[in-house]
């Protein structure tokens, strides 16, 4: 089966697109899939540092598109996972160096040899976003439970539908369960009701994310934190597995999880 192209986008910047791309990609690769991530944020590349591969860049996306190298030469292999690659963005060019049809052509070349092609979209609704969604089979929209992020997510979901790339699937990132419980943060249900799209992931606020990013290691490879499991769950859902959404504020989460393992059909 040819690989699927998953674009991770958001509208608003800083909601966790790059972290989500890195971790969903790493989780897929850790489960035995062949994965390549493309950083489409030309001029503001970051997926390389999040993955800890910044020192290995020789060629980038624009070099591939402009024919200065073959795709293979621009693909950087991950330090930890054998079938996990990054095609970095160019840092010294701008978004107009790549066109939507360039992205489609590039992904067509990658599909036969990979199970998943993940594209980290830049923020905004302009050229970079259009480049990123042009080849997409599945579009994930990352948002935070905050008014500005939700509003921008709504705008981007509308654009994805207009481009006939929908329905988008929603990742709600940085949920602070304590604040949700107090009624001082939009709950996942509130956000879903407002945006009316299908949910694919709920990621709790987790300082381990900052720590693992500091080290340049995706958190899914780095332990058992809540957010790591949430990213792994997204990867499983992409693969078509039915993974229930666990309540984030549940202190007995580990026991419930255990109970589900023992009795998968139960509640």
């Amino acid at each position: 089966m040819p690989g699927q192209v998953v674009t991770v986008t958001s509208g608003k910047g800083g909601v966790g697109k790059t972290t989500a791309t890195a971790n969903i990609g790493a989780a897929l690769a850790a489960s035995g899939q062949k994965v390549v991530c493309i950083d489409a944020d030309i001029g503001l590349r970051n997926l390389d540092v999040v993955l800890g591969l910044e020192n290995r860049i020789v060629y980038d996306l624009v070099d591939v598109v402009e024919g200065r190298c073959r795709i293979r030469q621009a693909m950087i292999r991950d330090k930890h996972l054998n079938d996990f690659f990054l095609i970095p963005a160019a840092q010294t060019r701008d978004k107009s160096a790549v066109s939507p049809s360039d992205m489609v052509r590039l992904c067509e070349e990658l599909r036969p040899d990979h199970d998943w092609i993940l594209i980290d979209s830049p923020a905004g609704i302009e050229r970079g976003f259009r480049n990123a969604i042009a080849p997409a089979d599945i579009v994930l929209v990352v948002t935070n439970p905050e008014v500005s992020a939700v509003r921008d997510a709504d705008r981007i979901i509308g654009l994805i539908e207009a481009e006939e790339k929908g329905p988008a699937r929603l990742v709600i990132n940085r949920i602070k369960s304590e604040m949700v419980k107090r009624g001082d943060m939009l709950s996942p249900d509130d956000v879903l009701e407002l945006l009316a799209v299908e949910l694919i992931g709920l990621i709790p606020e987790d300082e381990h994310v900052v720590m693992s990013t500091n080290q340049g290691v995706p958190i899914v490879l780095n332990g058992k934190s809540k957010s790591a499991q949430a990213f792994r769950d997204i990867a499983s859902r992409l693969k078509g597995e039915e993974v229930p959404f666990t309540p984030l504020d549940d202190d007995r989460g580990i026991f419930k999880r255990l109970a589900r393992l023992i009795r998968p059909e139960g509640n």
Binding site: D154, G183, L194, A196
Partner: protein, 89 residues
């Protein structure tokens, strides 16, 4: 109205609830590309047109934009005034 105790305990006016209410309105207008005043104008004109054909209760007419999934719907609830037929008199 909320009770004194509710307010004391901070049980009402939770900021998330405020955010949700605000977002509902903002998203309607973002999606329809209509400002509040344009929507008001639309309502007035709609009521004018209808009242040219039937007598309506202007004061209790309600025209609202609602959300149905990702679709916006304009819902009009316009009570008609009972007609006094001439032949009864």
């Amino acid at each position: 109205m909320s009770s004194f105790f509710d307010r004391l305990l901070g049980r009402d006016n939770k900021s998330a609830q405020t955010a949700k209410e605000r977002m509902k309105l903002v998203l309607v207008h973002d999606r329809t590309d209509m400002t509040y005043s344009e929507l008001d104008q639309l309502k007035d004109e709609l009521i004018d047109v209808i009242s040219r054909h039937v007598e309506i209760e202007r004061s209790s007419a309600r025209i609202e934009m609602t959300q149905d999934g990702r679709q916006q719907r304009l819902i009009a609830d316009i009570p008609l005034r009972p007609t006094r037929r001439r032949r009864s008199g």
